[in-house]
Subunit: 304 residues, 4 copies
């Protein structure tokens, strides 16, 4: 029997005074002002037990972590056609995400790179009556917590500076792989990224992926097969061009965001959310990656 | 002594009944409606003699041909810094113009690809008081014809469908290589492309490049060195990924546009404008290319 | 309790009369002559139970499957430096494996693409006294079967036609990432690919990866951490540019070869080897992929 | 009337004491040992007048300059099919010459990049009885000087270290764009590059390109059209990824080699050969480029 509280306390102790903590994302003021000293871990077993340490109860911007949640919402509503519009292969090259779009006729490599997430956003904008509200309610229902909200300042700052995302959305539009107006899709996208959660809420949000799709939703749950497939995509594509490294060092499906959050999971066993705002060169939380590596090394719990 | 009238009449006769005329650009209604049967040629010697045949006096949309004129206007006003923001090398690969931007940190390969022309447009928007009017007046002065005008319907159609250009401009903005608002730069750009000219006006507009920069402008003339360099760029970059082919088959500096116009020149000798709306697979006027090839073959006049 | 014999018999029954079986590799005569009707499955549980059906006892050329075995042999002997010379990321782009080498200074993306396997071959040629014999003995020991052998005709045919591999090896040499003579490395490489096994032998060879590295070797066993990491690499890189698809559809670490063999495994549970010589467009066994997809669907056994 | 002797003497005076002379190619000992202080210029007018200064009479390795001469020999012998096997477009990207081959199915972008020159070498190996001797005789005849010879040590050193060329040749072979054995083609190629000439001989060798193909050959002369086309290729492709820069700064068709030689020409007027062994970052003679830039600036003689 593993003493999980001891494990995460040990990891927190090992890392909390680390001097080299990476760089906090600074392209918008709301992210730049976050204290790099934050470090939180929240572990949730499928049987309901939870273990937490450090700053597990502070809210942070989930950013790209939201891409898994939009995919989870869209897939049961649009199961036939979604994979016609976005592929499931790793992108490989960090340096040219737009050039891949050009080479591959506007079909993004996978739903977890920006271009792919924009296609998923477009699908939701088409399917939902009030896209932003409906997605927020979906997340609140998944976590069973009505206090979850957008940080509107973050969304607005992204809107004012997100030229790369405007470029990607317009390129998708040029290839006919965006149904709605570019501005509407980006408005939705900047809001989904601006959702704030604590580690505790995030570990709850991802329970469905560890639990064959089952969660507290009454409708639109993932099927076991859909949950399995999203896990596969997280494993192969969840960490930008560091996906192979994460699979190699940690060995769990997961997803990171530039807000410094990472969430990972072992099917049938647990979800774990880690938050430390400093990022490594690839844009993933530096201490978050180390914390998860220590976790799977100490517990020997991984998919491999 | 070459009988130029006979030469161009022969070419017109050779091509006027050609069945395979390429496809007229159809991405906006204003271009799609042009009659593919049009074929005009206008030759202008430096000594003032002119020779014309076919539909040389009908207006057409100059589109990308305008990129040479914005460059000619910007270069004397911004000679030091312009080449810091755009390079002078052929782009080589048609399929990934945006990926080149990504690989090369937002510095377009040359001012005659779209991304490069957007940087030149940005420079003019920064330097000019009333950018669109001032550029239109520049063109009117160069041609000495105040009737030259924008086709506003064409500009508006481009604005509504030019997603690729929005993508390129936003990517340039993301790299810090665009000073002004994306929408302002694109508004200027869609107007510059929507200028209409006849073959006669176009052969006049390019006389300065054949004449060491000298023309009827009172200020802001190109220096001989600047004119020479623009000619070099036209030769190496003027025909998208068919630049080598054009140098090989025709052997003159020139520029084409999707409106079906091509203008080419022999320094110290002549300019020649050809118009036929049908395009080949690379987006250059199919009969226009053939007309110029026949012209340099029959006259033995080329730079090589 | 799953009735594994029934599962694989059902799969065999479902597929054995399939008309569309893909194309047998035909670039060398020895592979082209294989009967496309072959279909074998061999499942081996960690507790020693085995289940087999169809042509499980016929020998076939393991080809790229050998790349996992050379990696397994090299890693314990060269643990410090191996990952300096080859990376662990998916390659993403099928179309330009050599260009990635150029862009990334001669460091192959991972050890399961050809360029990466050539670096591993180079390491073994440096470390082993009699490289080909020593590696063959390693494989014989892992499987505990001294009859396993090279097909020398296959190795020779590859040598005579393997221009792409000569290109890759010379490019690695140009970047200083090959210590030995190009010809020596390729001679080793063509032999490793020319090993022949049955499905039964192949499922035995991969038991170590399902068993935390433990197998019948007396020395040079993988550590649990090394086994875990090779599994991660198989999951993200084992199926060329179809790795994401395989993770998505099957959800097991595995490796395929152009001889039509695929081996996959679930850590702590089983290995499974499938053989059907017809390949899909990506170079993986067409029926083999389908067999494994049916297997994980029917048994619900996958890492996700 | 231009005082050409004074012009080239002035250029020589301007540059001879330049401290920053670039780096002499050092990948083989025979090139590394050349004294960087060498600087020679030889100008040859079509009317037969010649002007020379500095080290115009010392032999150097012509290297890639030879690619124009093999093209000139092959084209009249194989006019129909040559352009099926090699294209005429600038390559654009320096960093991935092999990836372009992969993307474009083994058709090199142009005959002046290594891959293209290897295809031309292959054509000559197929067509000639004694390829190396026959090509050397061709060069001797063009220059009218039987003392021109291979430097066999240079050829041998290239053979021992030319891994990039082996990679390119094998890749061409893999795509079916090489008829002969890789080793035979490379043996020819390394010899053609190892020809030594003086500036005086080089300016003579290129007179045919300035003279509509006419030279002292009795057979296999270029047609005027072929000479014109080779000039076009030199202009767009003669200086690696600095072709646009050379067209822009100098404005003459030409070709450089890593031995530090550059030859350029103005059709109907002159050829000029410059030699200075130090290279700039793009692999072109640093002072050679400056000398030619000064020459066209001072004389106002360029094609533009």
């Amino acid at each position: 029997m593993i003493d999980f509280q001891n494990v995460i306390d040990t990891i927190h102790h090992n890392l909390k005074d680390e001097v080299f903590r990476g760089l906090v994302a600074n392209y918008i003021p709301e992210l730049a002002d976050i204290d790099a000293q934050n470090l939180g871990i929240h572990l949730r077993l499928l049987d309901g037990q939870t273990f937490a340490t450090g700053d597990w109860n502070k809210k942070f911007s989930i950013q790209s972590v939201s891409k898994v949640l939009t995919l989870a919402m869209a897939l049961p509503m649009y199961p036939e056609n979604l994979w016609q519009r976005v592929d499931v292969e790793p992108s490989g090259n960090p340096f040219n995400h737009l050039s891949l779009l050009e080479l591959e006729n506007g079909i993004p490599r996978n739903p977890l790179i920006n271009a792919g997430a924009l296609v998923i956003a477009d699908i939701l904008v088409s399917l939902l009556k009030n896209p932003k509200e409906d997605f927020l309610n979906y997340v609140r229902n998944v976590v069973d917590d009505p206090t979850i909200a957008f940080n509107l300042k973050v969304a607005e700052s992204e809107r004012l500076t997100g030229y790369n995302n405007y470029a990607a959305a317009n390129l998708l539009k040029a290839y006919g792989n965006l149904e709605n107006d570019v501005d509407d899709v980006l408005d939705f996208y900047f809001h989904q990224c601006a959702i704030e959660m604590t580690c505790e809420q995030l570990s709850k949000a991802f329970i469905m992926f560890a639990n064959h799709g089952a969660c507290c939703l009454k409708t639109n749950q993932l099927s076991p097969s859909q949950a399995k497939r999203i896990n596969a995509i997280m494993l192969t594509c969840g960490f930008y061009d560091e996906a192979g490294e994460f699979a190699f060092e940690v060995g769990l499906p997961g997803k990171s965001g530039v807000g410094g959050g990472i969430v990972a999971l072992l099917p049938n066993h647990f979800t774990i959310a880690v938050w430390s705002p400093g990022l490594n060169m690839k844009g993933n939380s530096l201490l978050g990656m180390q914390a998860l590596e220590q976790f799977t090394t100490m517990t020997k719990l991984s998919i491999f």
